[in-house]
């Protein structure tokens, strides 16, 4: 690791918006609402699959307080994709603002804007809709049958990039790769394994539900203030959906009440924008919690068949993954999520013979989207369970087996090159990697040496210790771009404007730290603003673990340019060559001991001579996606009478390169782990026979409170990523991948059972215990 002395980065400076939010000051979309805004309510489809044969909104239009009613008969029919991705999107265009067909319980039918939410609700009740019910498709197996109903039979459906798309077969995408001789290696392995795993639906559950507000400004442009992770993509998709030019639209992202991927999507903005255009009023739409569950985006459920071969000496000789991704009624993110099942998971262990084959399938169920972990979460459950199983089969400590096989600095993987985002990937060798240290430090923290085989355990309550290793990526190489602009002020402070989107992660603070470090100033001199499509430069947005690594480097580059301008002005002021000057602590020093403060320099540049505004911008794309690495450990207690699991302690290590803000990096890890724990144990989508989610409430969809929190220890293991800003790579997503496999492996250590499906409900665990006893 490179030894570098930092004055701002790698320090836990206070999050710049922390106090404002702790005081409850007006910061979020709902807080900005004027008192005369119209409220939107949506009529959602009660059917999983149906054609709308007629719809009558005339009565609704005359109801008290109603100002606008939208449905498929009076809105633009522009096919688009709601997923907030680069352009052209690696996702199908299969969505209309409103359509004549509904494809899941919770699809849009008609929207009302009224003076009060109650009036909007009342008006919805008067809309008369007749449906021609179609056979719903609730499983990927049914979707793939030759006589299955076609979910997307609209002629406009297409994918804007050259990849397979077969809506007539309910197939959204296919992707695959081969390296070496997989079949042969599997056949010749000393031990081979073939298991199929199922991962469940789940939702992000940001505490702020989806919310957007639009109004028309004095020039007639539509301004959308929205809780989004992707303001620039949102602007582009709103323009396409409404059929209006991008220049007519301004998207502002205020503070965001959490996203975790759910808001990497244009879901509400088109409706409020069109209603604002039609009424000239402020229009606000916030989903209820139940709507958020039923109609918001979810984690794709994926079936994963994992075939592996191992030699007696612990060599991993074959690693194969066949994935079927249920994308629900619309295909956004379907291809890229399943690609990440391969690209973010298969390279973790050295193996010459690799097979990957994946399909993405439409069903009439809730729609998958981007969710922290993005495919890696699903695939790591399967692969890390099977890795553990292989180690046990050859009589090797699963920790040692991982130490022997994991990828390390200097290694490449054929997977990196083969799998990209809707196209081939980018060849890459691993730079920074402290996974070896992650394993050692995590093992010491959990007390791995206390681990005894399950065969030695008796009694009702049995403890188990399990682990897993993880990786992710940092940004999407050669595709994603982030830009930053820095402008200097009279008092030596700086405006940093970025399109990068702080959705609660603290990226405004982290990017401010990077700028301050490069500018040789302090964090309190940075005025950071994100994001506003009128005022800040472009950025793809907050996803793909990219903000620190990608946007951070754009910020660093912009700061270096601005520093050079500062030095240039100082050179003029002090009448010495710029090369002889040194900047530190907001002051420029000459070799002979004279100095000029940043404030003096800016005042000179603005008012004295050769006046100009000290400012610059920079853009950045990445050529690799350096993985962060992690090893997670869990100790649990299993009640063998009931199958109930009690967590005793959890240890999460992570190598995220240089932690720009260690406390915020720990916070990312702690939050991701906690989310992963309830995903593994208590979160589930329950459906009735008609495809309607029956537990769309925090009373019945179980995310945990502080009372449920186990002892949780986070260990940041430093490394230095040469290609990242001050050695940084990503931290935000990797942490959510660990709990499901770690707990599954601990269950084996407790009682000799392995589950192929989660959440690990008491019944599922108890059934496995019964099977083992039989």
């Amino acid at each position: 690791m490179k030894k570098e002395t930092f004055s701002v980065v790698n320090h836990s400076v206070l999050k710049i918006d922390g106090l404002q939010l702790a005081l409850g000051r007006k910061s979020y979309v709902a807080d900005l609402k004027p008192s005369d805004a119209l409220y939107v309510k949506m009529l959602w489809s009660p059917h999983a699959h149906a054609e709308i044969t007629s719809i009558d909104i005339r009565k609704a239009e005359t109801m008290p307080g109603v100002r606008c009613v939208l449905c498929h008969t009076n809105t633009p029919r522009n096919i688009h994709c709601t997923a907030g991705q680069g352009f052209p999107e690696p996702s199908p265009y299969d969505t209309f603002m409103f359509d004549k067909k509904v494809r899941y319980v919770g699809d849009r039918v008609a929207a009302v804007a009224a003076e009060t939410p109650e009036q909007a609700e009342e008006a919805l009740k008067t809309i008369e809709v007749t449906y021609n019910l179609l056979e719903p498709v609730f499983t990927v197996d049914r979707a793939l049958e030759p006589d299955a109903p076609i979910i997307h039979d609209e002629p406009e459906a297409h994918i804007p990039i050259p990849v397979p798309y077969e809506p007539e077969h309910n197939i959204v995408a296919k992707v695959g790769m081969e390296a070496g001789e997989f079949d042969q290696a599997l056949a010749q392995a000393d031990y081979s394994f073939d298991y199929t795993y199922e991962t469940p639906y789940a939702q992000h559950c940001p505490i702020e539900t989806y919310i957007s507000m639009a109004h028309i400004d004095a020039r007639g442009r539509v301004v959308v203030e929205t809780s989004t992770q992707v303001p620039f993509h949102a602007r582009r998709i709103i323009a396409r959906t409404l059929g209006i030019p991008v220049r007519q639209i301004r998207v502002i992202k205020p503070r965001i009440g959490g996203g975790f991927g759910s808001k990497q999507e244009m879901l509400l903005e088109d409706v409020v924008a069109l209603m604002a255009l039609r009424t000239g009023r402020h229009v606000i739409w916030q989903l209820t919690r139940a709507e958020n569950f039923r109609t918001g985006r979810t984690r794709h459920p994926i079936r994963l068949r994992i075939r592996t071969g191992v030699q007696k000496d612990g060599t991993l000789s074959a690693l194969g993954m066949d994935a079927i991704n249920n994308t629900g009624a619309y295909g956004g993110h379907g291809l890229t999520v399943v690609s990440c099942c391969g690209s973010k998971v298969l390279p973790l262990y050295r193996c010459d013979n690799i097979h990957f084959d994946a399909r993405v399938v439409y069903t009439n169920l809730p729609v998958g989207g981007a969710y922290r972990g993005f495919g890696a979460t699903q695939a790591f459950f399967a692969v890390e369970t099977q890795i553990d199983e292989m180690a046990e089969a050859i009589g090797m400590d699963p920790l040692v087996f991982r130490q022997k096989n994991h990828i390390r600095t200097g290694d490449g993987s054929p997977v990196f090159q083969a799998l990209g985002e809707g196209k081939e990937g980018t060849p890459m060798t691993i730079g920074s990697c402290a996974l070896d240290q992650c394993i050692l430090q995590g093992a010491a923290a959990i007390g791995w040496e206390r681990r005894t085989p399950h065969t030695e355990k008796t009694g009702r309550y049995r403890t188990g210790i399990g682990m897993c290793c993880l990786m992710q990526g940092s940004s999407v190489p050669e595709i994603d771009m982030g830009a930053a602009a820095i402008k200097m002020n009279d008092d030596g402070s700086f405006n940093l404007t970025i399109g990068a989107t702080d959705l609660g992660t603290g990226s405004d603070t982290v990017l401010g730290q990077i700028a301050a470090e490069a500018l040789r100033t302090t964090i309190d001199q940075m005025i950071v603003y994100s994001s506003d499509t009128d005022l800040t430069p472009f950025d793809v947005g907050a996803y793909a673990s990219s903000t620190t690594y990608l946007s951070g480097e754009a910020v660093r580059k912009a700061a270096v340019k601005v520093l050079n301008q500062i030095l240039g002005v100082a050179a003029e002021m002090l009448e010495v060559p710029a090369e002889s000057l040194e900047a530190r602590e907001s002051t420029v020093f000459s070799a002979d001991g004279r100095q000029a403060t940043y404030s003096e320099i800016c005042l000179y540049a603005l008012y004295q001579k050769n006046q100009f505004q000290i400012m610059d911008s920079a853009s950045h794309i990445t050529h690799k996606s350096p993985p962060p690495f992690a090893a997670h450990f869990v100790e649990l207690e299993l009640d063998t009478f009931t199958g109930c699991i009690k967590l005793l302690q959890y240890v999460a290590t992570v190598d995220c390169g240089t932690a720009i803000n260690p406390k915020l990096a720990e916070g990312q890890t702690e939050g991701g782990v906690m989310n992963g724990l309830s995903y593994a144990l208590t979160e589930q989508y329950l459906f009735d026979s008609r495809g309607k989610m029956t537990n769309a409430s925090f009373h019945n969809y179980h995310i945990w409170s502080m009372r449920d929190k186990p002892i949780l220890k986070t260990i940041l293991v430093p490394s230095y990523e040469e290609t990242g800003p001050f050695g940084a790579k990503s931290v935000s997503e990797i942490c959510i991948n660990g709990p499901a496999p770690a707990i599954n492996n601990a269950l084996y250590n407790a009682a000799g059972i392995r589950l192929r499906e989660f959440p690990f409900t008491p019944e599922r665990v108890w059934n496995e215990l019964q099977k083992k006893q039989a």
Partner: protein, 282 residues
């Protein structure tokens, strides 16, 4: 249920008169935390009971007399010899709910998952209703059917009596839930009296896993005169006594599993109550 009007009476007779006059159109209201679960119900006028001095716990030699308007948090903070409800309350919902929900509200209408009905069935409580004449029900009478049927317009549940635990008697309340604030999948309460390691008396009840909370008389009889620490025998007895009951599916889990979970929970409650009795003896 849609609240279309509200009345905030200052005195009990005023509240009773208002409820009497409103008849079906009135609804007694205290914490109102459960009203949201009747979202699609009819229009009602709420008669708020908070100013009627119905809150508080009084200790008499025979019983704890608990005002129906006592918030659950007060029950949780209360301390006295033989008081058993702290542990029950700690397992109900979240603190914001416990701060506003009242004992009366928790038992006036019984949800399938209800907590206090199960505990009160095991604790042999009494229910006092102020109507034209004051009436007292034993919990067994009160929870025989949906208690709402016992109320006529103008009636108000005013207090609940619970006998203190005798020194050789223990109590336990076990609630199986997905996380600490969740509704129950299976709840069991037991009160067990121990003499020389043998159970001489037992009251046990289960709820949430079945449509309506109920006492399990059969296990009470089976346990009398036996050693509750003999777990295999206890499990066998519990399984046999639960056989006639039909169980519900919960949290996506099968009825058969919930039956098994309920049996284990009931056995746990009985065993923990016996251990509590032993501890209180020593």
């Amino acid at each position: 249920m849609k609240i279309v009007d509200f009345i905030i009476p200052e005195k009990l007779p005023d509240a009773r008169a208002a409820l009497l006059e409103l008849g079906e159109k009135g609804i007694p209201a205290a914490g109102c935390t459960a009203f949201q679960f009747y979202a699609d119900g009819p229009e009602r006028t709420a008669v708020l009971l908070n100013r009627l001095d119905l809150a508080g716990i009084r200790s008499t030699p025979e019983a704890f007399v608990i005002g129906a308007g006592t918030p659950l948090t007060t029950l949780h903070r209360f301390e006295a010899e033989g008081w058993a409800l702290n542990g029950v309350i700690a397992q109900i919902a979240s603190h914001q709910i416990r701060n506003i929900s009242t004992l009366g509200g928790n038992i006036a209408r019984v949800f399938p998952w209800a907590d206090l009905p199960v505990a009160l069935l095991a604790l042999d409580g009494k229910i006092l209703i102020q109507g034209r004449e004051p009436r007292t029900y034993t919990v067994d009478q009160y929870f025989k059917t949906q208690p709402a049927t016992l109320f006529t317009p103008g009636d108000l549940l005013t207090s609940i009596e619970v006998t203190p635990l005798a020194p050789n008697t223990g109590f336990a309340h076990v609630k199986q839930r997905m996380k600490s604030e969740s509704f129950s999948m299976a709840t069991a309460s037991a009160r067990v009296t121990i003499k020389d390691g043998i159970a001489t008396d037992c009251r046990a009840a289960i709820g949430a896993c079945i449509p309506f909370p109920t006492r399990i008389n059969a296990i009470e009889e089976a346990l009398a005169g036996s050693d509750p620490s003999d777990r295999p025998a206890l499990d066998q007895a519990v399984t046999a006594t639960l056989k006639p009951l039909s169980f519900l599916s919960k949290e996506g889990m099968s009825k058969d599993y919930i039956r098994h979970l309920a049996a284990t929970t009931l056995a746990d409650a009985i065993q923990q109550a016996a251990q509590d009795a032993q501890r209180r003896l020593s």
